[in-house]
Each structure stands twice: as C-alpha cells, then as structure tokens.
C-alpha cells in the first residue's frame, strides 16, 4: 500500500489534488482506485487548454477489466498533461501519488478545494 501524502485532498470518486506552490493544481487517482482497477493499460488525457468544470468527466482510465471515468475535482483550464502515461500507463499502478499524476489545472477558484476530503476522511470512505 502506498502511504497517502498529507498534502493531498480527495474526491469521493477517488481523484486526488495537490495545490502546488505556484497556485496550479495537480490531479491524479488514488492508490485505492488503482488497486480496485487492477492493471492499468490505457489512459486518455484531456487536451491542454480545455476549460473544465468541477465534476466534468476529464479523463478515462482503462484497466484490463474495464473503462472508468475520471472526474475533475476543480474548475479551471488544463495546462499540462502527463504524457508518460500514454506509453507507460502502468505508472499509475506503480506510483499513483507521484509519477502517475494525470494533469495540471489552473484553478478558477481555490475555495473549491476546501470542500474536498482530507486524507483521513478519504480513508474512511475507502473502508466503507
């Protein structure tokens, strides 16, 4: 099990966010999510420049088993995507909180992040 880093916030649908020092936000999926999905074989990432609203379907992650939607935890503009995942989707399994990030977003409103779950709250969701 990967330890949940303390600076992350979570959506109940298993996405994590991290507010970077420059005010941008990095988004990925949780260790619990990658474990549920199993071996990840394909990731479809959004186009840079796309404007997202919180709750929008922003990416697709496919394991051997099934395809799953990834929902945007915050509103804003996509400014960078993790192209490593296009050829090495298994990175999401290996390193969900670090090398396996999905995209970076310039948030419209950082207050949206306060509504997300702390690592402790998210852990409780996972145990349900």
């Amino acid at each position: 099990m990967n330890e949940i880093p303390g600076d992350l916030k979570f959506k109940t649908s298993h996405e994590w966010v991290r507010v970077e020092q420059d005010g941008t936000v990095t988004v990925g999926i949780s260790d619990h999510a990658q474990d549920l999905l199993g071996d990840i074989v394909f990731v479809e990432l959004p186009d840079i420049g796309t404007q997202m609203n919180a709750e929008d379907e922003v990416a697709i992650v496919e394991s051997v088993k099934a395809a799953s939607d990834v929902y945007s935890p915050v509103s804003g503009e996509i400014i960078e995507v993790n192209e490593l995942l296009l050829d090495n989707p298994e990175t999401v399994n290996e390193s969900p909180y670090s090398d396996g990030w999905f995209y970076k977003i310039q948030p419209d409103d950082l207050d949206e992040i306060n509504e997300l779950l702390s690592p402790e709250e998210y852990s409780e969701v996972c145990e349900e």
Binding site: G38, D39, V41, F42, E44, I60, E62, V64, K65, A66, A67, L86
Partner: protein, 353 residues
C-alpha cells in the same frame, strides 16, 4: 456467498476475491497481466471449483447424451475421451456449453457455474424417458494446471506419464480425474479431485513452483485462444452457427435425433451473422457493446479486452456476413480502423495474427 474448499488458500496468497455468480473467487493475486504471461511462458494453477459437475449413472447414458447434445458422444464411445458441446433448446438457442467425459465407469458433464440449477433441471426433464440418473456433485473440486510446463510440474509432484495424453484425453489417477483440457489455449490439464484432497494437491503444486492464477487472467487467456464465454459471447438468443460453433453440430448419423435438430436445419439456411475476431492495433480498448461497422453491414463487440500477449486490444464480435477484413469501431469520440479475422488469435504459445 459460496466458497470453494481452496478459499482460505486464496486469502493466504493475497488474492482479491470477487463475487463470481454467487461464488467468492480470486480475480487476481496481484497482477492479472503477470499471471497471464506466466501461463503463456511457464505454468499456472487455477481454482475452478465453482463450475458444475454432473455424474451420470444407469444403462442408457450414451443414448441420453446422443439426444441431449448436438455433438455426438459416439466420438467418445471408447473410454478415456472427452468432447466439447453446446447445450441447445428445441429452438436451437444455446443454453450453455460443456465438456462431457467418458470415464469408462460412467459419463461426467462439467458445465458453467451460473447455469448450475438451470442445467440440473434441464437434464432431469430431458432424461425422463431414459434409464439415467443425474447427480450434481458437490464433494469435488477442480484445479486447472495450464502452461507449457504443466506436464513438468505434475511430474515433479509424482503424477507421471502424462506425456502420452493427447488433447481431450482423460484418465483416472488415484480416484482423481485428469483431463487434457483447459480454457487457455496452452498445453494443460484439468484435475477433478475430492474436496478432502484438494488443499494438499494445491499446496504441492505451489511448492513445486506453479503460480496461482486468478479468473481475470483466465478471461484474457481464453479470449486470445478464441474460446467463447457463455453469457458474454453467446446465450439463449444465439445459435451455434453465429457463434463459431458449427463444428460442434454433428449431423453424420442421419438416424440420430437430438434436441434442437429440426430447428437447426432452418437456422443454418437463415443465419446471416457470424462470430469473428477483431484487432485494434491503435491505442484504445475494445469493450462489449461497441458498434463495429464494415462494408457489408455492422455488428457488436462481445468480449473485448486488452491482450497481455499482444500488447493491444482484441475482441470477438457478432457481425453481418460479407466483411472484407476491415472495419471501424467507435470508442467514445474516436473512430478506429480494426482488422476482422477468424479466431483464435493464439494457440499453444504461437501468435496467429
């Protein structure tokens, strides 16, 4: 939830357990992809004890099976052989698929898990006019040993001389049944063994170096091997001709009557669909229900998955006849070119595409 005798073994091996037709079964023991590759390159063992075993007794077993099944058990009238057949209703719709074994002492049927009680009822109903008894066996487990080293590993634990067995041969060894069958497209065996002996058998195989394999890998292995999954690739609304099973309809014995025979004569003329293999070499994963278009019509993806052996996606689809080997599949907002081929994609370690 039903549990197999090996349930605790799976838990101890760190398996992720899922509900599989009311049975708690291992989907994987860590990585489905690694498990798949182990079976292609070495040897893996599967607990498939959730499947249904029926033992027949009585003086008219052969007559009954000739009537019950479209494939002809006359092919296995000498003991020590097994035969694959679909199970049809009177309309030629597929109720299930199964393997029937001639053990010398009696015949045995192994069929799917989800159809257990339905098949049991069907067998009882159809056997009324025959001197046959059908017993659902619950004191037996099934372990599949699959992969190029399956014979070696069984040799290591003291089960010798399996090299003389051909595909679909079956024999009794210390009261267990050993069949040269499987659901992976590799060399391999399926062993039906008493519940009281299965744990030590399983542990001996692990100790000898076999890897446990979950039902997730079993699914991608059988897809590559071109083997249908009942419920995904065919069901009661499908006939054998549109399910790549024409070869199982044995009409050689003109005097033989079997369930569905009359319906099949019309169906054969009217069938305008076929089950084909689909290959997507681009980035994207074929999944059930995606639409396939080709120059002479369209169709739908049945089983579809990432293929661990090839590194791209493969699928089955039921298509209008008349394709020219090329098609298009729409996945979300993207349209992809696909190849249309005849399954299997892989057999005995050899890539066929």
């Amino acid at each position: 939830m039903n549990k197999t005798t090996l349930f605790e073994q799976h838990k101890n091996l760190g398996a992720k357990m899922v509900d599989f037709g009311g049975w708690s079964m291992p989907i994987n023991y860590g990585s489905q992809i690694n498990e798949h590759k182990v079976v292609r390159s070495d040897v893996g063992i599967f607990d498939v004890s959730h499947m249904s075993i029926f033992d027949l007794s009585g003086s008219e077993q052969e007559e009954f099976l000739k009537y019950l099944l479209p494939n002809d058990v006359n092919k296995i009238k000498n003991s020590g052989r097994a035969l694959y057949s679909p199970l049809l209703n009177n309309d030629g719709g597929i109720l299930d698929d199964l393997i029937v074994y001639n053990l010398g002492t009696h015949y045995r049927i192994i069929s799917n898990c989800a159809t257990r009680s339905q098949n049991h009822d069907w067998f009882l109903k159809q056997s009324k006019n025959y001197d046959v008894k059908i017993k659902l066996m619950s004191d037996l487990s099934i372990v599949a040993i699959q992969g190029p080293n399956s014979e070696n590993i069984l040799d290591k634990i003291g089960i010798y001389n399996l090299n003389t067995m051909s595909d679909f041969d079956v024999k009794i060894y210390n009261s267990s049944m050993i069949a040269k069958t499987g659901y992976t497209g590799e060399e391999g065996f399926e062993v039906v063994i008493d519940n009281s002996d299965v744990e030590s058998f399983w542990m001996d195989l692990l100790e000898a170096g076999a890897s446990p394999i979950g039902l997730g890998a079993r699914d991608t292995l059988r897809l590559e091997a071109g083997l249908n999954l009942y419920g995904s690739d065919m069901d009661i609304n499908n006939n054998p001709y549109e399910s790549n099973l024409a070869w199982t309809i044995d009409l050689n014995d003109k005097n033989r009557d079997f369930i569905g025979k009359i319906a099949l004569e019309d169906i054969k003329k009217d069938t305008y669909k076929e089950l084909k293999g689909i290959i997507l070499r681009d980035k994207g994963i074929l999944r059930s229900h995606q639409l396939v278009e080709h120059k002479a019509g369209n169709g739908e993806i049945l089983s579809g998955s990432y293929s661990p052996s090839f590194g791209f996606s493969i699928a089955f689809a039921r298509l209008d006849k008349g394709h020219n080997g090329e098609g298009r599949v729409k996945i979300r907002n993207n349209e992809f070119k696909v190849e249309i081929v005849s399954p299997p994609f892989m057999k005995k370690g050899k890539m066929l595409i």
